[in-house]
Amino acid sequence: MLDKIGIAKRIAKEVKDRYYVNLGIGIPTLVANYINKDIDVEFQSENGLLGMGPFPYDEEVDADIINAGKQTITTLPGASFFDSASSFSMIRGKHVDLTILGAMEVSENGDIANWKIPGKMVKGMGGAMDLVASAENIIVAMMHTNKAGESKLLKKCSLPLTGLSCVKKIVTNLAVLEITSAGFQLIERAPGVSIETIKKATEGKLIITGDIPEMKIN
């Protein structure tokens, strides 16, 4: 079973050379730390920065340079700043290659719900609805089940949707799965996790074809 860092490490392997990547808040943010140093990747922050770098040293902190999580950050060589409309031109125009974000629920046809729980304070969708509506490569990072132990991989989302049929891949603490026309195709098991465990934790249609390897992360 993976912890959050394990999920981030596994997702990092999905990030390919020359990808522009948008990382959501939470586990996705951690992914940046584990990307292969031999490949070139640029991070887009939807508040208006391409070429986002690590957190600044104390004396470098600039209130005018933050990421979408409102954290102070730095820029890397080749970075650029732009306005919000241009930022979403990058997103809506499919110029961003990979979007990694968290979810509360994903359905077997790739619907995602990650912005609203009826009856609870709603903070808003931020850029998530634009991202999931346009990105051609969306990976969800999340726990396989919620705190009550209920599956988050469902036949149909019960929560208000963020986007329709958009998720391509899911990396959870238990497994890697692809969304196919048939349902959740199991690709890899987390270290030490049995197929039985994954089956029990998956409410939506789970497709298992042949041997399912255990995932390799460093």
Partner: protein
């Protein structure tokens, strides 16, 4: 050169009244028009509709207006980080219209550009699409979104000149350029105000034609929401 300079926030905000719709730049607390917000508090105008990506924190940014119950409706993409906001929203005192961030930015830009409506896939198939026209383009469903219609827009820039030209800094740019010329009157506050001719025409982010009033702000706090650092 058409001079847009006014003395201060007080002069700049002349004409703002109860029940008006305002656009306010900024992302979180980054790049918000601090001086204009302070003046709105001083004016005590009520029942404002505020179009702003976020709603500030309890004691800063738009939170200052919320505390005094000056806002009747918020149009935003993300409104966390604010307890008073939550209280007013749950009690029904405050109407909240949450819309996707990209649609928010583009609806501002559409108002600036005289484009009454455009199509975007964001929100299709979700509750955001309810009651909105949808339409297929290239096999994909889109929603029709319309330009905002606001009375005043308040933006914050780094450098400006008396002709109203603006240059923004870093990610403090965000929604600010998209809100220039997107309301009947746009007020820009800047950290540094120069005579016309001091800024390179090639480096200007927003032309003065979109700005009606410009003033040099002061005492910028630039509060940081998440001070994250790398330890040496």
């Amino acid at each position: 050169m058409i001079n847009k300079k006014v003395l201060n926030a007080q002069e700049a905000l002349t004409g703002i009244k109860d029940n008006m719709t305002l656009m306010l730049g900024g992302f979180g607390l980054c790049g918000i028009p601090e001086n204009s917000i302070a003046q709105l508090v001083k004016l005590g105008v009520k029942n404002l509709t505020c179009i702003s990506n976020n709603a500030g924190v309890d004691d800063f940014g738009l939170g200052l207006l919320l505390k005094d119950k000056q806002i009747g409706k918020m149009i935003s993409s993300y409104v966390g980080e604010n307890n008073e906001f939550e209280r007013q929203m749950l009690s029904g005192e405050l109407i909240v219209d949450l819309i996707p961030q990209g649609s928010l930015a583009e609806r501002c830009r559409a108002a600036q550009a005289g484009i009454p409506a455009f199509y975007t896939p964001a929100g299709y198939g979700t509750e955001i699409g309810e009651g909105k026209e949808s339409r297929e383009f290239d096999g994909k469903m889109h929603l029709m979104e319309t330009a905002f219609n606001a009375d005043f827009s308040m933006v914050k820039a780094w450098k400006g000149d008396e002709a109203g030209n603006l240059i923004f800094k870093g990610t403090a740019r965000n929604f600010n350029p998209n809100m220039c010329g997107s309301a009947k009157i746009t007020i820009a506050e800047v950290e540094e105000l120069y005579p016309a001719g001091e800024l390179d025409p090639n480096e200007i982010h927003i032309s003065g034609i979109f700005i009606q009033r410009i003033f040099q702000g002061n005492n910028y706090e630039k509060r940081i929401e998440q001070r994250t650092i790398t330890k040496r």
